[in-house]
């Protein structure tokens, strides 16, 4: 099977979130970038497992600048065969999806994997857009994927539970928790990653449909009001009369 995995970078989950340039830019000072957890732990690892049992190849694709090469090498160290980087800033989901779809169209991939969402923009946008541009089925929030020939059986999150669905390749899938277990790259993988192919492709022309013009932070929480453990009735009273939530 030919598998394509979309890999994006995200600030480490403990990063302090603030903004510079009059609140128009994310403050990257001291921020460590990681592979977006959904892409790494679930999408990439499940793709590798399928390749290991069924044969084929796993290619990663990232829309980003040269600064993203470190996280791309990490994906290669975990086991991807080769990587593509579309040399552009991923500022807009449609722009990003268009670049990926443009590359994927020519590649004859059986499955295009994305993560459930990026943990910085939480958009869940790119996967659905790739599917629409390519005219493919899109199964979102998948927590289990098994292949039988060209038919996939997928458990996906649905309102009120889990739906087991079948779909034929090619399709686009977004991977959520449960799909696979995180893999830690070993020394051999890290060494091998250095020489695996990382192809840099120039972007095609595409409009950005949206622009983030500024950011803001939520107002600071007022201090916690403590209630004595022996006076739980007071908490119930506060929740009713002050907070008005019960």
């Amino acid at each position: 099977m030919k598998l394509l995995v979309c890999i994006s970078k995200a600030p480490d989950t403990t990063s302090k979130i603030d903004f510079t340039d009059n609140n128009t830019k994310f403050n990257e000072a001291g921020v460590q970038y990681i592979v977006n957890p959904y892409d790494e732990w679930y999408a990439l690892v499940r793709a590798l497992e399928l390749k290991e049992t069924l044969g084929g190849s796993v290619t990663t694709i990232t829309v980003g600048n040269a600064g993203d090469d470190a996280i791309i090498r990490k994906a290669l160290a975990i086991g991807a065969d080769d990587a593509v980087r579309i040399n552009a800033e991923a500022n807009d989901a449609y722009y990003t999806a268009f670049q990926i779809a443009e590359y994927a169209k020519a590649g004859g991939f059986d499955i295009v994997f994305t993560g459930k969402e990026t943990i910085n923009y939480n958009g869940s946008q790119v996967g659905g857009m790739i599917a629409e541009i390519m005219g493919l089925p899109y199964i979102s929030l998948a927590e289990k994927l098994d292949m039988n020939g060209s038919t996939a059986t997928i458990n996906r999150e649905m309102k009120g539970g889990i739906e087991v669905v079948e779909v034929n390749t090619p399709f686009v899938i977004s991977a959520a928790k449960g799909m696979a277990e995180q893999r830690i790259p070993n020394m051999r993988g890290i060494m091998a990653a250095r020489t695996k192919p990382l192809q840099v492709v120039e972007p095609v022309a595409c409009d950005e449909l949206t622009t983030f013009t500024s950011y803001s932070l939520p107002p600071a929480k007022s201090a916690c009001k403590y209630v004595d453990a022996d006076n739980v009735a007071e908490l119930v009273n506060l929740l009713h009369t002050e907070a008005k939530v019960i």
Binding site: T14, S124, G128, M158, G160, G161, Y226, H240
Partner: protein, 313 residues
Amino acid sequence: MSVLVYIDTLGGNIAKNAMEAVTYGSKIGSTTVVTNGPISNDALASLGNYGASKVLVDRSITVNDSSQITNLIATAVESTGADTVIISLDLTGRAVASRVSARLKAGLAVGAIALPEGDGHIKVNVFSGKAYGHVKINTAKKIIALTPNSIPVETTGGSAAVEDFNGNAGASTVIVKEVKKQEGDVLLPEAELVVSGGRGLKGPENWGMVEDLAKVLGAATACSRPVADIGWRPHHEHVGQTGVAIRPNLYIAAGISGAIQHLAGVNGSKVIVVINTDPEAPFFKAADYGIVGDAFDVLPKLKAEIEKFKAQN
């Protein structure tokens, strides 16, 4: 402005987040709703109460297929001439909104938490609720995916005209083999009250305290990630950066330290109550109300007090 709101009624009912989306739409302009569920015309007419003037329904779409629903919405946009499409960011909306954006080449603002600002920018959640982004949509047609539980439902007393609609959905490419319904009465993503437990509860056998309190409150139950990872609780209860993000009115956390990745999934809650033996637990910094104490003592007491309160009110 002409607004089209898509709501998911495949479950056979109108969920609260659907009412929110219709309320939101009707504050922007004249609102038509489009949907596809097995739901009566009377129930659909009641959407007028949230400001819809018309409801279009295509009951030929019987599974949750993002391609079919995208065809339906695109057809409805064309027939109504809508310039703004509103979709609630529930599990269906997450798959559909992005497809519709690509289909119409219309900019999508995902995770809106308020009405468009004066300059037309839309305020959305970013960084797992740790910040807001102000998004400008660069196209004439605009799509807004609204975060559930971020605006109040408002009623107008109106009633909407319901029309059968042909959404040109095409054939489905997704076959549903089985549906595994989640147990419990209240579903976590749309719950208004949530009781949650962490590693401090020591083992799955102690979750009765959490469930009992949830039951008297009418709340859903949740947990921290390690609790789901060790298998004390099912995966779908795990909240946080890598789990579900929730925005209930009340979040009660017992035996959870309040790691930054946990907070990322719950910091949209209106009110947070923290119960922890350690006065230095980081969660107290994000809490509105705190009890420094043993969950094994406090949870049963809290349940008893809530019962008393419910009996009186």
